[in-house]
């Protein structure tokens, strides 16, 4: 417990995934949490983003989330970044933290997070949801595997629907976010096995959890033997 109290994590996104990961990291006893999200609370969030409430509609999401976190952990150091993560602010925002938690909802931010965490040597807890499915893994600082070992390039714009377009079953991001928090706790305390080197695939229709072994791809553009990407792209723009 003492070690967790000295540790810090930054959660990028305070939606379905971030609601759960930030709350459970706080409950586990982490010392400091950063929250990054440029959006305000909307009605359609409340079906799954349980850290926000109906009275919070219209408020910046990081503020709404921080209020609930303070209720359970008055001693928690919380840093708020009510902005969208970009290639220009990523290094300064993420830099101070021990671990980065991907709780975002778009490919542009995912790839930015992947690249910047690799370059900064930060462990990155990866989580993603779609309809009834969820994924989780832990990308390891500077050693891979990383997101681009799995998917070297983001999908063409418009080819993969967002949660807004395809839907998502409410409790799914809750579970994945909770699993991400547990993984971060295991990483920080050095106990148990992290999701490093494996991709957890959850199907909430079948109630199955499959695991795929992930290894660093020697041809990966970021963490491979001859990396093509050695600094942040100019534009993680619109994927």
């Amino acid at each position: 417990m003492r070690y967790l109290r000295q540790a810090s994590a930054v959660v990028v996104g305070t939606g379905g995934l971030g609601s759960a990961s930030s709350m459970y990291l706080a409950l586990a006893g982490i010392g400091r949490l950063g929250l990054v999200d440029g959006d305000r609370v909307e009605m359609s969030n409340l079906q799954r983003q349980v850290i926000h409430s109906t009275p919070d509609l219209g408020r910046p999401k990081v503020e709404s989330a921080a209020d609930k976190l303070r209720e359970v952990r008055p001693d928690l150091q919380i840093d708020l970044y009510p902005v969208r993560l970009t290639r220009d602010n990523a290094e300064s925002i993420l830099g101070p933290y021990d671990v980065v938690v991907d709780a975002c909802d778009n490919f542009a931010t995912r790839y930015l997070l992947n690249d910047v965490c690799y370059l900064l040597r930060k462990p990155l807890s990866y989580g993603a949801v779609f309809r009834f499915e969820g994924q989780a893994s832990l990308f390891f600082p500077g050693e891979g595997p990383c997101l681009r070992c799995l998917f070297p390039e983001p999908p063409p714009a418009g080819s993969v629907p967002t949660c807004r377009e395809a839907g998502v079953f409410g409790p799914v991001p809750g579970l994945i976010g909770c699993l991400q928090a547990m993984d971060v706790v295991r990483y920080l305390t050095g106990r148990g096995e992290t999701y490093r080197g494996r991709l957890l695939l959850y199907d909430a229709r079948l109630m199955t959890w499959d695991e795929v072994v992930l290894t660093r791809d020697s041809r990966c553009p970021v963490c491979g033997d001859g990396p093509r990407i050695t600094r942040l792209a100019d534009d993680y723009g619109t994927f």
């Binding site: 079906q47 409430s53 409410g170 079948l206 109630m207």
Partner: protein, 243 residues
């Protein structure tokens, strides 16, 4: 009872309406449904939050062990009637004012079970798990039960008349406990999973984990499904097989 979703509901549940197998019909069905959550610790709170968020029409809350972290504020024992001022109902109503939330104190549990479609069991003691098992079987109500032992979780759905009951699957059940930082998080995960499965039971949506229980290890983050069979000699359910 409104026959269609309101404008606000269409917005609030927008992410469900596009889901195959869910849609407007599923959301309306959920709104007509009711779930009783028994146990209001970390596990029960998680289950209630996600059930309320998803739009279950009516939620009942009971904490017979009285040990939940968020249990009721002290209040007069009004016998069997509804009291609604605890912190958990407040939080749930703030999240989703469209859900009817009732918290019960000191009420006869058999009577309570009869008022809801599905029971979600989040109690700590083996004694209360067996009691819920017995009452749900007797009352013909599905029970989505889960327990946390240290940093391991187990979840099983008991559908009366169908497959094993809690006693068949876990004849040596012992009191639950949370170990370390992970224990609390495993409790949260089990609660979220119970909400997941309860909704699936209500909407008949895929695997309901009846006849196979879920086992989770918080130290490795791994899940397993474990087949279990009804015990013909089970004193609780042996008289209730389909065949």
């Amino acid at each position: 009872m409104k026959l269609a979703l309101t404008q606000e509901e269409l917005e609030r549940y927008g992410r469900h309406l596009l889901l195959p197998g869910f849609g407007v019909d599923g959301q309306l069905r959920l709104r007509r449904s009711s779930v009783l959550v028994v146990g209001l610790g970390r596990q029960g709170l998680a289950a209630s939050l996600y059930l309320a968020a998803a739009g279950v029409g009516r939620l009942g809350l009971a904490d017979p062990e009285g040990g939940g972290n968020f249990a009721c504020m002290p209040r007069p024992s009004w016998g069997e009637d509804v009291v609604g001022e605890g912190r958990v109902p407040q939080q749930l109503r703030a999240l989703n004012p469209g859900v009817e939330v009732d918290e019960y104190v000191g009420i006869d549990m058999a009577d309570l079970v009869s008022r809801y479609d599905v029971v979600v069991g989040c109690v700590g003691s083996a004694r209360w798990r067996q009691e819920l098992n017995r009452l749900c079987l007797a009352g013909g109500k599905p029970l989505v039960g889960a327990t946390v032992l240290g940093w391991e979780g187990q979840l099983l759905t008991v559908i009366p008349g169908e497959g094993p009951c809690w006693n068949c699957a876990f004849p040596h059940d012992s009191d639950g406990f949370l170990a370390g930082e992970l224990g609390t998080l495993v409790a949260g995960a089990m609660g979220i999973l119970q909400a997941t499965v309860a909704i699936k039971v209500l909407l008949d949506l895929g695997e309901r984990l009846s006849g196979r229980y879920l086992s989770f290890d918080g130290m490795t983050g791994r899940f397993r499904q474990v087949e279990c069979r009804a015990d013909p000699g089970c004193p609780y359910c042996s008289g209730q097989k389909g065949e």
